[in-house]
Symmetry: C2
Subunit: 138 residues, 2 copies
């Protein structure tokens, strides 16, 4: 299976596949006589694993760790549990931040209901005001 087919069957761009190879996240594939990459089902599996982890917001470094763990089947999975706990905490924190951000943005939006002149636009006035007192608040 050539790189194009791998790309189509996983939905991952060709350039990204080559990038993962450079980053040692995918094992080196065989090559044809014409120097084209040749992939095995094993590669498909590992690429899907990487993408699924990425869809769970893991960094490539974290994926690298997981792949390392998978490669020593008799070891313990403590690392995996810790990694996941940390990730959960990160996402929770980010959600809380974004909730606050939503409030602020909606409040700000309320300051200008219809298009105004710049100099009297409530949003811009509020942005300037908040920037000014920002330090005092914190």
């Amino acid at each position: 299976m050539q790189i194009g087919e791998l790309a189509r069957s996983t939905g991952v761009k060709i350039e990204t596949i080559r990038y993962y190879e450079r980053e040692h996240l995918l094992p080196l594939p065989q090559r044809t006589e014409g120097n084209y990459r040749l992939y095995s089902p094993r590669h498909v599996e590992q690429l899907r694993f990487i993408r699924y982890c990425r869809s769970l917001d893991m960094s490539l470094e974290e994926v690298r760790i997981l792949i390392g763990v998978l490669d020593t089947p008799s070891g313990s999975c403590l690392t995996v549990n810790a990694l996941l706990d940390e990730k959960i905490a990160e996402v929770d924190a980010r959600v809380n931040e974004l909730h606050k951000l939503q409030d602020q943005l909606r409040q700000l939006r309320g300051f200008c209901q219809q298009p105004d002149e710049v100099k009297t636009c409530g949003i811009l006035m509020e942005l300037n005001r908040s920037a000014g007192i920002d330090k005092a608040q914190i």
Copy 2:
């Protein structure tokens, strides 16, 4: 006011201030004979404005747009309203994504309550399984 004082009084790193200057987000400051940057209260104000916008998750490009709008006080603020509406939609979308992510991560975490051997770890098994059927699901 030299760059160090500006940094202290706004909580922005010196290197970041110089970076904003390179990016034309801050006007060029005067210089002393010894080539030190000299800032005015106007610079303090604008730097605070930038940081406040950044704290609202705006990109530097968006901040650049807002600064441009502010510099033409007699224009309309339609751009500002549109920008903010878009930003609100983005944040809402991101929050929804993260909520789904939270569910997935917590469910995954449930697959391995106590440290296991790698080959029987529920998390790793589930990661592999989900990666495999991922495409079929979508």
